[in-house]
Amino acid sequence: MAQLSYRDAVARGIAQEMRRDERVVVVGEDIAGAGGVFKTTVGLLDEFGPKRVLDTPISEQAILGAAMGAAMTGLRPVAEIMFSDFFAVCWDIVVNQIAKTRYMTDGQVSLPLVIKTGNGGGLRFGAQHSQSIENWAMAVPGLKVVTPSTAEDVVGLMAAAIRDEDPVIFCEHKGLYASKGEVPDGEIVDSLGTAKIRRPGRDATILALGMMVPRALAAAEDLATRGIDAEVIDVRSLVPLDTRTILGSVARTGRLFTVEENPQLLGWGAEIASIVADEAFWDLDGPVQRITTPHIPLPSADSLEDLVMPSAESVASTVEKALQS
């Protein structure tokens, strides 16, 4: 058991899998010699050498295309897209090629690959370097999508993603890289498609993802002081989605809140709201409420960015107000 940063956990998870499986290779911009611009691949080049850990040109389509072609012919690549916003320059490879090829070929082609990426806001990087794109991927059949919120989950979900036979979009939250957590020694392998109840509670269910998880937990602590016992669920995996855990919680609490970093329209909370509204309609004691960044691009100034993103305070006050009315 050791304290590990979320950032270091990424390299640990990858290294764990590279040691046991020769087919795992890693590619991306500045990921080898420099250990990644977010330092999430430090040490991999030294341990595994330049044949398995490659720096690339600034050619995101070529990077993901290469990952795809390699995956369909026997390797298990982990490719980095440095900031998730850059998915937009290689979106075709992700959604039209990687997501659809197994289906279109009637199962002839397997694509065991992971695309890891620095996702999310809060670092004052402005509108082109702060987006939460997990929702873009969730909308496309054929992609699995995970977002860990703790260092331990980073290791275990990375291992699970690399072992999975399907393409996985692995969203690392940039705002969590510096955070630390206890991580058990030895091999860790988690499973995709599972949410985690981070804090049990009886009065309301709060669903959160990525950097919103610590904020939701802080909100819950705060609510507890005011007599509201909120359950906080870390969604962790958007596809597959652990609807069982979510619906089970709603059945117990009767109230659902989603805490989403994304701009409102078509954030993952919308899908969950629609599922709950359909399948748990009679369980609900009040409307499902979504707490999101408003539907605007993210401003860069620190004061404005803090203002628009959901905070522990805004979560707590929304939940409190809703439960009181």
């Binding site: 389509q61 295309g65 290469a66 072609g69 070929t105 397997s110 596809v239 989605l241």
Partner: protein, 354 residues
């Protein structure tokens, strides 16, 4: 030959005629059995695609499809040069390349008809022909992407030390999309065993490549930008194609890296099922139809001593194959409803939730 930009005019292009007929390539170093194989291979593609066209006309093929009638020498010439375990990456215009890898005709035709016995059970259609067991790694319908994917297969072959080569076919119009550039540099940087083959048929869908490209040879004039040699070949001459293929494959297999080959050719028909191809000057179309790769090649074989009877026998046996495939395809069942829900994921299913 790159021209300075001052010679380019947007929207202006002349009639581009095929090379003069000549018997010079009779002397190329391709042995006669290989040449018989090339003839047969082209005849299979030709007969198969004409049949596919007839079936469209009978409303049996739904959706779109893209024929390579007139372009067979490229698929045949490369197909015959490839090792059994090499990889092919093709476009939506991929029937000929699929047959070139030995994929049987019945499932290909059945796929066009949307039948359960189709190559992908009806889920892919004409634009996505794939047969992994034959090294046919897919047909890709969005311009550019598959060049980057071919790199990945080449990378994997290099990593595994398997000696396999990836061959990637695409059109002239594809040379102007971003992925082309990324893929070529990427292949060169890692010296990947991949051969890029530009089938320059002078047109994108309905627009002349010369109208909207800054250099006259859309592929070959870009090769030096990646440290590669400019190579332009007669894409209607199966022998010339075949030898270029052998050279490029050898180069890749021996670790010297990628090649970019521009093969000049022409499609006899329109871009796709919907297109009568009226935007092309009839003088140009006629000249290229006369310079048909099958005609050119049949005449060569006859000059080299192969009898008309033998060639007719090949034609007849191919026709019988196509007839049988047609029967087999038409006899195919419709896909089962359940099959729409298989193979989204590796577990065989489509579920996105528990």
């Amino acid at each position: 030959m790159k021209l300075p930009l001052s010679e380019h005019r947007y929207g202006e292009h002349g009639v581009v005629l095929p090379p003069e007929r000549s018997d010079a390539n009779d002397a190329l170093d391709v042995d006669l059995d290989r040449r018989r194989q090339l003839y047969r291979s082209m005849r299979e593609m030709r007969t198969f695609e004409k049949r596919a066209y007839d079936l469209f006309m009978k409303q049996l093929v739904k959706g779109t499809s893209h024929l390579s009638l007139g372009m067979e020498a490229i698929a045949a010439g490369f197909g015959a040069a490839m090792r059994e375990d090499d990889y092919t990456f093709a476009t939506y215009r991929g029937h000929a390349h699929t047959l070139a890898r030995g994929v049987p005709m019945t499932p290909v035709l059945a796929e066009l008809l949307g039948r359960a016995n189709g190559l992908m059970g009806g889920k892919g259609g004409s634009m996505h022909l794939t047969s992994v067991e034959h090294g046919m790694m897919g047909s890709y319908a969005i311009i550019g992407a598959h060049l980057t994917i071919a790199n990945g297969a080449a990378w994997s072959a290099q990593y595994r030390g398997s000696g396999q080569v990836a061959v990637c076919f695409f059109g002239d119009g594809t040379t102007n999309i971003g992925a082309f550039h990324e893929a070529l540099n990427y292949a060169a940087v890692y010296r990947l065993p991949v051969v890029f083959v530009c089938e320059n048929n002078l047109y994108m869908e309905y627009t002349s490549i010369h109208d909207i490209t800054a250099v006259p040879h859309p592929a070959a004039d870009r090769a030096p930008a990646y440290g590669l040699e400019s190579i332009v070949i007669d894409g209607n001459d199966a022998d010339e194609v075949h030898l270029a293929a052998v050279t490029a494959l050898d180069r890749a297999r021996s670790g010297q890296g990628p090649s970019l080959v521009e093969a000049l050719t022409y499609r006899h028909g329109g871009h796709s099922r919907a297109d009568p191809g009226k935007y092309r000057p009839s003088e140009e179309v006629e000249a290229w139809k006369a310079y048909d790769p099958l005609t050119v090649y049949r005449e060569r074989l006859v000059r080299l001593g192969v009898s008309e009877d033998e060639l007719d026998a090949i034609d007849a046996s191919v026709l019988a194959l196509v007839d049988a495939a047609t029967e087999g395809a038409i006899a195919g069942e419709l896909p089962s409803p359940e099959s729409a829900f298989t193979d989204v994921w590796a577990d065989g299913g489509w579920s996105w939730r528990n």
